[in-house]
């Protein structure tokens, strides 16, 4: 017993000696979707490092990159990969960055509880419903699939500034930001839940966490990627096993390479990667595979700058593992 205690004291002593006291300020900003993850990491990090002040802002993925590329922040949270125009803006100011995938989100297609006809929906039908050509034309459900009733369609979705909108339009319509305009757009996913729960003919899309919290109010529709494939429900299991395509999307945070030289930033990044597998689940997202977190750690340690997406956005159905394997030095 005494030996054990002495050993414990030694261990704790060596811990307090080896762990240098970190201090300073770390600034993160960007996507509201990624915010809860960075907030959770900052909260836990703050408990261990009381002298490091971590702040997290919300200005959207695009707004976050504007500040990041102007050199105003250390981290930029993003619900999509960095775009070509943003890569150029960062380049113009000599801002280099390491791209870290941190979690998956599953965009969930939800309908009203009284909607008894929609057992599943194909991506082609979602395209027919959401593409710009549908505006003012596709107005009742039997126009989407002939066996569905002659019930008026009421659509809800995120506003055009949202990364969720960018990703959904890219994955479903085929080109980013192409969407019909006659839907109720909002920056608050709770409004989508409310809208869908009050209209029998309603359909909306939003992040998995919002569906998980509102299962009593709305129903998720299983999505069929291609004809002949089976319908898949949005769930963390189906995101992990790679079957929920094309609507599962990766979330990122970008860190400045020169900021990584500051011990408190490096400490925060290491902590982020180590804690992400547990914390992402706690706040309603899906953890990446362990090998991807390893890749993230390697990229940080090697200060491998740049995005493996090359400004092109994430093509649905291509695994992150393959991308990072090809993109890493």
């Amino acid at each position: 017993m005494r030996v054990k205690l002495v050993g414990l004291a030694l261990v704790s002593l060596s811990f307090s000696v080896s762990a240098e006291k970190l201090s300073g300020t770390i600034k993160a900003d960007g996507s509201s979707t990624v915010f809860p993850i960075t907030e959770a990491v900052a909260e836990e990090f703050g408990k261990l490092n009381r002298d490091v002040k971590v702040t997290v802002g919300i200005s959207g993925t695009g707004g976050g990159f504007k500040k990041f590329c102007a050199g105003e922040t250390d981290f930029s949270n993003a619900s999509r990969p960095i775009k070509q125009t943003e890569i150029e803006a960062c380049g113009a100011n000599n801002i280099n960055y390491v791209e870290m995938p941190v979690a998956y989100d599953a965009l969930s297609v939800v309908v009203n509880k009284d909607n008894t006809w929609m057992k599943d929906i194909t991506v082609a039908e979602l395209k027919k419903l959401w593409e710009p050509e549908a505006q003012g034309k596709i107005m009742t459900w039997n126009q989407v699939r002939s066996t569905w009733p002659n019930e008026p369609i009421k659509l809800f979705g995120p506003g055009t500034d949202s990364g969720t909108f960018d990703y959904f339009t890219e994955a479903v319509v085929g080109k980013e930001d192409l969407s019909r305009g006659d839907y109720t757009g909002t920056e608050d996913d709770n409004v989508i839940v409310q809208g869908v729960s009050r209209n029998k003919g309603a359909l909306g899309y939003m992040g998995l966490a919002y569906y998980e919290e509102n299962k009593a109010a709305v129903r998720a529709v299983p999505v069929i990627n291609k004809d002949g494939e089976s319908a898949v429900m949005p769930s963390s299991a189906n995101v992990k096993n790679g079957t929920y395509v094309p609507l599962s999307r990766p979330l990122f945070t970008y860190v400045r390479t020169d900021a990584l030289k500051r011990p408190e930033v490096k400490g925060f990044v290491d902590f982020y990667i180590a804690q992400a597998p547990t914390l992402t689940g706690e706040v309603g997202y899906v953890a990446l595979s362990p090998s991807l977190y390893q890749v993230a750690a390697q990229r940080v340690n090697g200060a491998e700058a740049g995005s493996v997406f090359g400004g092109q956005g994430h093509k649905a159905g291509i695994s992150l593992e393959a991308l990072y394997k090809a993109g890493s030095k």
Partner: protein, 286 residues
Amino acid sequence: MKPHLAKKHAEKIFLGLALTALILTILFLFTLLWDVISDGFPKISGGFLSGYPSRKPSEAGILPALAGSAYLMALTAIIAVPIGLFAAVYLEEYANKSYLSRILELNIANLAGVPSIIYGLLGLQLFVRFADLGRSVAAGALTLSLLILPVIIIASREALRQVPKGFREASLALGATKWQTVWNQVIPNALPGVMTGCILALSRAIGETAPLICLGALTYVAFVPDSVFSAFTALPIQAFNWVSRPQAAFHENAAGAILVLLVLLVMLNSFAVFIRMKFQKQYTQG
């Protein structure tokens, strides 16, 4: 129908309309209050007031937001009240009724109606970027000061005008200079009215979210600001963030934060009423 009967009917209809309008307003107000209080009151506790933001709704608190709002308000008052008062003194006591001063007056009245988000954009360029203050309490307070200055100037001028002309004439007749008259007679007598206007303007400022969001005020801040250059968050921003989270427990937190903000506002407004009543008493006694 006889004409006097028609008049009587018109009277009744008018009274009915006015009463309905009043009842509707109060009904709306009470529904809103009831909604916020029933959701938010159970949340209010020592831990909620002294806690830091957290991913766990039950552990999350509003201390940084509350402190941020308090700092903002104090600093805004320190900046905006003297500037607003002196601008009003100039316009009311010194400025000639020239073409220029009339244009000035018109512009100040117009500025009072400019949407608050415009002030946010101005603050972002002027204070955050150009003056390089960053997203600090100082930048926030300066922006809110700009926002409420027109209101303070208009209210202060109103208060200065209420000071009887006889006070000025008596003071000047006794040999006091213009400056002495304004400093010793006019301002002290107008001060309660000025204060009332300032407090009402300040209570508008602490409820503002749009200019602060535009400025880039932060959402997760786990410390109390320690200087005017410190990063900050404020109650409306914290409430806004919690409302948009998926978990219902966060929505209750938001109601709690809104309730605290409401209590702050009621306190400020009652302070304004208190000052006004004291002022009226003094006036009748003197």
